[in-house]
């Protein structure tokens, strides 16, 4: 298993952002759904080793991130796209991705090829030498995805990866997620249930810091049968589970 969480809690003062989450994940694309404030981003930050859990056990890629040597090893094999991507406007696309490849301590000889491959995978080849300040929001999102996948990670954490992408790019990105998920564990937090339906092999729904549903997209769809809120079957399932969790 690439990710093992056992009763993980994370609090900010009195606010319980993650409240007793346990799960095990192997390779595949895992969708994390939930309303605003459900704790998705906090859970991803815990998994990204940015935040330590307040309590509970975590094993990532078979290692304990509490140990600094293990944490360093995990980070070498980790890709992370935060919800709000910060970037350096004066860097070009290639330089920004190369910078993160170097921070991830990739073998230096492998960096140029890996950067070029990442740029191509997000379809930014024509903009490779453009400065980040000149890019649109959607292109910047793709730069963020490229830096996350440049090291060919075994654990890829994506927070709202398709936000700002146009429909064509979104379709391409779903395809990319599926191909990455063949060997790695991809966890994508999103509001867009159609992304989950199209790309994820498994889905979890969070509410108030807890996982209130876990299953396949088909199973989530099934939970929405007879439920009236939502335009698409998956949305109806999402609403039904949330309504049930809140009641």
């Amino acid at each position: 298993m690439n990710v093992t969480l056992t009763d993980v809690h994370r609090s900010f003062g009195k606010n319980k952002a993650v409240d007793g989450v346990s799960m095990e994940l192997g390779p595949g694309v895992f969708g994390l759904l939930g309303p605003n404030g459900a704790g998705k981003t906090s859970l991803l930050r815990v998994l990204a080793t940015v935040l330590p859990p307040s309590s509970g056990e975590i094993a990532l890629l078979g290692r304990d991130p509490h140990m600094s040597a293990a944490r360093r090893d995990i980070r070498r094999r980790l890709g992370y796209l935060p919800q709000n991507l910060g970037y350096y406007p004066s860097f070009t696309v290639v330089e920004f991705i190369e910078y993160f490849a170097l921070l991830k301590e990739m073998p230096t000889s492998a960096v140029p090829k890996a950067v070029a491959a990442a740029v191509e995978r997000v379809d930014l080849g024509p903009k490779a030498k453009a400065k980040l300040r000149t890019l649109s929001g959607g292109m910047l999102r793709r730069v963020g995805i490229a830096q996350a996948i440049v090291n060919n990670p075994d654990l890829l954490l994506l927070d709202e990866p398709t936000a700002g992408l146009d429909p064509e790019q979104r379709v391409q990105f779903r395809s990319l997620m599926r191909s990455l998920g063949e060997n790695a564990t991809v966890i994508a937090s999103t509001h867009l249930v159609e992304d989950v339906g199209a790309a994820c092999s498994e889905v979890a729904l969070m509410s108030a810091g807890k996982i209130v549903f876990r299953g396949t997209p088909g199973e989530l769809t099934a939970r929405g049968e007879g439920h009236s809120v939502g335009d698409a079957p998956l949305e109806r399932g999402y609403s039904a589970v949330l309504t049930e969790a809140r009641s």
Binding site: P52, S68, R75, E98, K104
Partner: protein, 514 residues
Amino acid sequence: MPLPGTARALRLELKRNAVPYLLPLLAAVFYFNTLRTADGFPPVWTLRASVISDHMLFEFSAFAGGLAAWAGSREGRRKTLDLVATTSRAAWARLSIALAGTLCWLLLAFLAGVALLYGRTAFQATWGGPPLWPVFVGAAGVTVVSVIGFACGVFFPGRFTAPLVAIGTLLLYQAGMHAAQSLEPGQAAYALLSPADAPPIVDAGIYHHVPPDRAVVQVMLMAGIAVGLLGALGLAPDLRRLATARSLASVRGAFARGDSWLLRTIAVVLITCGAGMAATAVSLAGTAQPDTIAGGWEIPALHSSAVDRSLPAAQACTSLNVAGSAFQVCVHKAFSFDLKEVAAALKPVIAEIAGLPGAPVGASEVASISGGQTVMSGMAGHPPVFTFTADRVGLMFGQFLGMPDPAAWRAGFQMGLLDAFLTSQPGAGHPAGPTRSGAAQQAVENALLTAVGTSPSELGGGQMLNGRPNAATSAAISAATRRFLALSASARRAWLAAHLSALRAGTITPAQIP
């Protein structure tokens, strides 16, 4: 062979650094503030090098502090803290690479400025070589301000951090300059430790070595601060998390996330070493005493007696033919560019007094500090030689920052010679200052100056008198001056030959002057 990862990251930092964008502005300020000031000084190495600490560091420290703060605050300003925190390279290494990128540019710019300054001086200087300690102090100053600015940016990221650091640096520098200008023994060590300083005496480093003691403690202090802050950067992620920790669990969590304990230990060792170096520098500065040989300051624990030895005299001389006899004028080789002007200024006055009792047979420049005391123009030796100091000579060079014009400089020089001739007893064994005394002496001096084409009123008149003369005395001096000037040159000489001793003794009144 590909570059190592650190070198590639440094190359990116160098390529995308903000410093090159501001280099034209820095170059303009450097030209107007530093280079023009240096050009106004005579081409004497020590004097020219002094602008490194009292002008160049001023502009460089403001730019360095601000730009380094801008670089240090990048992750906070651009909100990449989460993103970079998930990478495996240690935060300390990442920050150090960013700091190195900024520091390389700043030091390169600083050294280029020094090279330009020294290059111009090398073409103009007639003696000596480039002093290195001012360069070390300057480089240490740029480095420490950069590290301070960078650390401020890391710990307090924000768009206003850079300008605030730049302003703060300027204020610190000004405080140092203010303290240095009113420095007395036993005062706060800050004045001695700040690189900001007033220009040295004109002949600093010419007759005596400049003791490097003060420069050594300055470099030690700045290196200590830089090393300590570099260590603090190693703990930056931990300190940031601690600052936001609200419970014991959060504190434990903060320590559980950071770099390895080995790196943290190294960081603590660096902080300790840096603090130790800085504390040592402060305590050494507290023991500083006025240097009794060449002026300035010496620190007993660092002072080398070899520095106290006088430098071998190196003079450039020219011989004037005055009334059929030779009159030798000598200046130190470092001022040989002014030898012709000095001789030309002295020649008409020498012609007026040649052959009179106690008239000098030569003129020679001497050190302006002797035994820690200021030396003034005067007569020395037997037969007497007019001795003058470099602070008169050196003023001739350049026309910047209120330097006198050549006519005023020439008049001052001639007046110095007449002061010494009319007030000093001949045959004194060492340089002595003129005894400012009589109104009659002043009247004779004014007449002789006027006779050689110099207007005493340009110099204010009455320079030899103690205090400001009253109206009656002034009128008496003016009348005596007019009478004496109306005499023929031979009559003036005859009267002077007969009455010079009495005139020097102050027993003649203006009314007795024919």
